[in-house]
Structures are given as C-alpha cells and as structure tokens.
C-alpha cells in the first residue's frame, strides 16, 4: 500500500468512526491539530444532516431542528454516503425509522420519510413521453391482449398506515409560510387502514393521489409486466364479467395521467 493510500484510508476511517488521530496530520500553529481535524469531522456530519433536511423537509419541520438533528446523526453514524451527489443520500431513512417505530407518531414518521423519498425521486427523474390514449387507440384490436407496460421513471408506489400525508400537507403549508418552521405540530399521529399512493411527475410538477385497493392491485400487476389479457384474467376472479371493462377503464385513466411507458 502506498503512503498516500494509507493516509487516505486512515483519515477516512477516523472521519467515519473516530479513534486515534491520523499521525500524518501536523501543524505547529494554534489551534492544535485535533481541533483543526475536528472541523472536517463536524463538517462531514453537518453536510449530510443538511442534505437529509432538504430531502426530508416535511419530516424535519414536524420534528423541529433539534429532534431532526438527533435523528439524522443517528442515521448518519450507520450510513456513510456512497453517492457522488448528496441528492441520492438517505434512501434508507424510512426503513431506519420503521425499525425503531413503537407508536403512532414514530410509525407516522416512517411513512412520512417513505413518502418524501418518493417525492424526491420523482422530482428529477428522467423526462419521458408517457404512453397516451391516442397512440393506443391507433392499435388494431388484436394487439390489445398482448400489450405490456412499465412505469414511467420516478413513479412511486407506497402504502401508508398512518395519517402521514396529512402531516406532510401541514408541514408543507407551514414551510410555505416560513421556510424555517418547526416543530410543526400538524395533525396528531393516528394509525389508519392501509392507504395506497401513486406518485408521478408528468411535467415539472410532482403529483400524487391515493389509489383504491383494487386499482392499486391492478396497477401493480401491470407495472410488474402483466399483459392486458393477463390483467383481465386476474381481475375476473373479483369482477366477473365486468373485468375487461374495469381493466379498460383503469388503463384509460393511467394513460391520461401519464403513468405508463410501452414496452
């Protein structure tokens, strides 16, 4: 191992894990080297905290600065960045919160983090022209049964079991009025029946809506590669002879919204 390689490994390990100060650092000046190197150590954490506070601004507003800072530091300690851009950092925050959730409020925080990660992923996903009604209307009827689709880039699907989206709305409203708002009390956390959500960004603005359970199930089938015929068969069990109509109605809606790409 070269001296430079050695030096970088030791310095990085110290930044991430602490321990004895890298011996290669030196200064004859005040402040002492411990304090100087500490600027890098603290800067590393502060930069990641700031990035999480940007991605999860609703959660940060709900928790307030101090509690969010504590949460972020606990997360950062176990999650070094492997990304060239900070916008990609922090995907695991929802799972991190979920693993520690023990009441409605902490379950809400996990849902809120998952929701905000999907919003962030949609925000700068690739621009595409989604499959539209017109293009499909031009197809011969024989072509319909074998139609297949995939999700537009940045499409988000998630299920919440708390009123996290209402809490997100309250936090956003508070942030619009005052970007430094927090803690934002918002609605008290409550557990709810599962609610399915769809997040897309058809042009520049991100949109989301809740999905009825049967539509969510149908959409997930299509997104995982089912043909239109296979979708009809799957729906037949529940919708009987109305299955084809239900499938066609949902498909029309998804094509109008810009949810799908032709495979």
């Amino acid at each position: 191992m070269s001296d430079l390689e050695d030096l970088q490994r030791i310095a990085q390990r110290h930044l991430l894990e602490g321990g004895p100060l890298p011996g290669a650092l030196g200064t004859a000046l005040s402040p002492p080297v411990e304090e100087r190197w500490g600027i890098y150590c603290e800067g590393y954490v502060l930069r990641l905290v700031a990035s999480l506070a940007t991605t999860y601004d609703g959660l940060a507003a709900r928790l307030g600065r101090e509690d969010f800072d504590r949460l972020a530091r606990a997360f950062i300690a176990g999650h070094p960045s492997r990304f060239r851009s900070l916008r990609d950092y922090g995907a695991e925050l929802a799972a991190f919160l979920r693993a520690r959730a023990n009441d409605a409020e902490t379950r809400l925080q996990a849902d809120l983090a998952a929701f905000e990660w999907h919003l962030a992923s949609a925000f700068d996903a690739a621009d595409v022209t989604a499959a539209g009604i017109g293009e499909l209307a031009a197809l011969a009827p024989e072509a319909w049964p074998s139609l297949r689709f995939r999700a537009v880039p940045g499409l988000g699907r998630l299920c919440t079991t708390t009123n996290a989206v209402a809490a997100w709305r309250a936090a956003r409203a508070a942030l619009e009025a005052d970007p430094a708002a927090g803690p934002v009390p918002g609605p008290p956390a409550t557990d709810t029946d599962p609610v399915e959500w769809l997040i897309i960004r058809p042009a520049l603005e991100t949109r989301f809506r809740s999905l009825p359970d049967d539509e969510a199930e149908a959409l997930d089938r299509v997104l995982s590669g089912a043909t239109f015929a296979e979708l009809g068969e799957a729906l037949a069990a529940r919708h009987g002879e109305n299955a084809a109509l239900a499938a066609a109605t949902w498909l029309k809606g998804w094509l109008t919204e810009g949810v799908l790409l032709r495979v």
């Binding site: 070269s2 430079l4 970088q8 030196g26 402040p31 890098y40 800067g43 060239r84 700068d124």
Partner: protein, 281 residues
Amino acid sequence: MPAAPSPPRPLGFGVGLRPAHYAAILESAPAVDWFEVITENYLVGGGRPLHFLDAIRARYPIVMHGVSLSIGSTAPLDLDYIEGVRNLAARCEPEWVSDHLCWTGTDGINLHDLLPLPYTEEALAHVAPRVAEVQDRLGRRLVLENVSSYISYTASAMTEWEFLAELARRTDCRLLLDVNNVYVSSRNHGFDPRAFIDGIPTERVQQFHLAGHLDLGSHVIDTHDAPVCEAVWDLYAHALRRHGPVSTLLERDDHIPPLEELVAELDRARATATAALGVAA
C-alpha cells in the same frame, strides 16, 4: 487536446447558479455575465434542474463546477461519473469544466468534503496521470481549484502553489484560483497569500473564485455563507494586477440572499477590477 497556449477570452463577472434564483434570473435578466453550475446537481434524469439549466444556458454562458471528481483519491477514477460529466457537457456546452485539487473519499465512500492532499512528489506522480486520463475522457482541459484547508501533512515537501504549478505544467491543465481559499488557508497555515497568488503562472489561470468565510480569530473556516471580506477584496485586487482580467465568480452556498444582493456584490468585483487594471475589465 487543443494546444491553445493561453486561456480563452475572460467571461467577465458571474455568480453560482442556485435554484432559489431560477425564476428571478429568467424574469429579470440580471446584469450577470455568466453562471457557474454545480455539476452534480444536474447529473440527473430530468425535471426542474435540467429544465432550468437549459433555459438559463440559452441566455448566458455557463461553466460546470464539480465536487465529486476526487482527482486526488487513491481509489480508481469513477468512470461512470466522468461519463456523466461528459454527457452533461455535451448537453449544456459549458465554457469549461472544473473541479478541485483534493480527495473526497476512498474505498467507494464519498465524504462530500474537499480534503487536501499532502504536497509530495508521490502525490504529484499519482494525480498527474489521473488528470491526463480525465482530460482524455472529457475531450477537454480540466480546470482545477485550490481548496481551503485546516490541516497540513507532515509529509508535505513543497508549497501548495508549487504543487499546483507543477501539476499544471505536467498535465497542461488550467487552474481556478480561489482567492478566498488562498486567504483562508494562508491564515490557517501562516503563509503569505500573495506568495501563493504570485506563485501560479499567469498562463494557467482560467478563473477566480470569490466568497465569504467565518473568521474565528485563531483560524478561519470557509463557509461560503457571507459577503466577501475586505482582506479578500484586497487580495483579489492583487490577483488582478498579477494575472490580468480573469473570469471572476462569486460563490454563495448558504444564507443565499436575493439575487439583487449578489449582483450588487458583483458590481464591487467589477469596480475592483476596473481600479486594479486601470481599465474596464
């Protein structure tokens, strides 16, 4: 690699492009000559970042300024990243592409921090071929910036400016002289900032950076969250007298004020250049 001996025509006076200013830039056509964009913020699929980059690029020259090249790391170059930079450059046709003389992590980890290198022959021999490879892959010269630093290494055997000048000589790269960083590091390490400025060969200087910092008395932290201080304005005037009219960029990354405030500060840079050079820059 083009063999032009001197840097291109100066771009004038620019500010860093920040999302908070997108709308104001497009609505008010501010008196800014050019914008510098953080490369990583636009290495994305689409949406608002690329939409506004395209719209602003249609009206102003831009420069791409990266923070993740990690040219000084002993980890292998991130070829995907370099490919992404090349593709973004093909899309937005920047005047040039810059990053920092530093390392930002190793073994697959990004510390998102601009860590200094020891200024040794070993480090030079490591970095120079990497600069050459990046330049080959990008099909253009790289512009490298001096970082502000708080620590030095016992192994260092030359000054930072000697290292930069030698690196530029070996690789034919250009340099982004951050006047604030020179000042910050000079305070932290006790060297003469003018010796740094004077130690860089003029023909290598492609761009200046100006920014604010936090002065703690015993040392200085580079925060980019405040206006440029008097000592840095003085050093900027010295840099102009030494190197002539060089494209100048005002950086602000935190406590971002309304665009008009930055434009007013840019006017001070213009006035400083006019006074230092005796002509309108």
